[in-house]
Symmetry: C2
Subunit: 277 residues, 2 copies
């Protein structure tokens, strides 16, 4: 039986990584598999959106490098909101450099990502050294890493043998790599015929989720929560512009209504999946 | 005849992108194909290294996101040094997200990379939308983009069809993509049999160059300037730890001596290449 049939609570009990366990637990506790991607460029807009969507999400996805007035106070306020509303933080940094450099980018600089982000992600393209570089910083802090096994954009090169290699790199680093950014489950992908991978429980976080649009003018493609959770067995839906629009003239009531809507759609899809036989 | 046999000055005259032309011109003027990668974590160390290596380089490669006390004043001082010593600036950001996000990361946030970095780079993995996203910001400013067609790390996934697709993406965007981060020239790579690519002049900037070491403990592998420039036809050698060590207790005299040494080695290799028949 695929682990996709287990509840988030059951999977939480089986997981060894602290961040993966915490995420699965909050998903069960709050009955949500919704991650909101907050891609706005000012601190005040950012905190407004997080304050509104907080009750509906298991995870907030950030790009702190697009916030003009980023400062330490923003991180403090984000942490307070994450406690108040009970969600985790995922800086979508897409690390993609050699081990020595990503270790510095993760720990240092203005943003100090490792000090506040429970989960981050990396492209496997540099090879296994990117994982060891990030692990040297993240493992002592109990952090979790997602590998970008696939992308939702048109013409993505993360396909075929590239995706298989990403999964192999993850299997070799299960203490730190907790899952994938992908469009489907990765059960058995890239495994050799005699390799047992049934107990692997990689979380699948899926971007490019939208209910009202099929794409944007810059190559993004959208699928519905049901397609993603039921048909493809993914675990977390990542929704951005579907919830807060384009960030100009934020309408808080609309943002709240959309967050509630996506949370319900995502959770219903999950319940359909685990009840299915 | 391969364009690798032409002088930098001749290639500058033929190039349509302002940043590529400026780089080739400064290489010829200063007789250097050395780019120093300044991977230190404080503003004072950063400016000290740039002030010492400035006379020997055509380009400084930065990771501003690892500098703890980054601020606007750092950029102002870097700009002053780039005028004083006549070099260009290359923020090695390795953009790797969807078009909408990279456009924000390039233009916005604390770092505002597009406003001061003549050249930046991107992974082709998201597909062509990453180029259009960055071009929407960079083209109006006369900037140039390098694609990471290959990486110098062990187990890199940027090989084979991935590299070919990167080159095809570059050919389709020659107004903005001025070359590659790669270990060899990309003449004709990924071209269809009836496609004429002889006039393509993509600059090849090559990391992983060192005279004294063959690698580090985090998967980096090193080659000499002669291997890179003569044997593989690359244009710019990127040297980091070979010049300034590990950044602790910087010895300015050593840094200067090493910069001079790499500049000489790189230029001699180039002269050997263009004189060869």
């Amino acid at each position: 039986m695929s682990l996709a049939k287990l509840s988030y609570a059951e999977r939480a009990k089986r997981h060894s990584n602290a961040s993966a366990r915490a995420l699965l637990e909050v998903m069960e506790r709050k009955k949500t598999n919704l991650c909101v991607s907050v891609d706005v460029t000012t601190k005040s807009e950012f905190l407004s959106v997080v304050d509104v969507v907080g009750p509906y999400i298991c995870l907030v996805k950030t790009h702190v490098d697009i916030i003009e007035d980023f400062d330490h106070d923003l991180i403090e306020k984000l942490r307070e909101l994450s406690v108040k509303y009970d969600f985790l933080i995922f800086e979508d940094r897409k690390f993609a450099d050699i081990g020595n450099t990503v270790a510095l980018q993760y720990s240092s600089g203005v943003h100090k990502i490792a000090s506040w982000s429970h989960i981050t992600n990396a492209h496997p393209v540099p090879g296994p050294s990117i994982i060891s570089g990030l692990a040297s910083v993240g493992v002592p802090l109990g952090r979790g890493l997602l590998l970008l096994a696939e992308m939702s954009t048109k013409g993505s090169l993360a396909t075929g043998s590239y995706t298989e290699e990403a999964v192999r790199m993850a299997r070799a680093n299960k203490n730190f790599v907790i899952g994938f950014i992908a469009q489907r489950r990765m059960d058995g992908v890239g495994a050799s015929p005699d390799e047992s991978t049934e107990e692997d429980d990689f979380l699948i976080l899926t971007p490019g989720v939208g209910l009202d649009s099929r794409g944007d003018s810059m190559g993004q493609q959208y699928r519905t929560p049901k397609e993603v959770i039921v048909d493809s067995g993914c675990d977390v839906i990542i929704v951005g512009r579907g919830i807060y629009g384009k960030g100009n003239n934020l309408d808080i009531q609309t943002v709240q209504a959309q967050a509630e809507r996506y949370r319900t759609e995502g959770w219903n899809a999950y319940q359909e999946r685990i009840k299915g036989t």
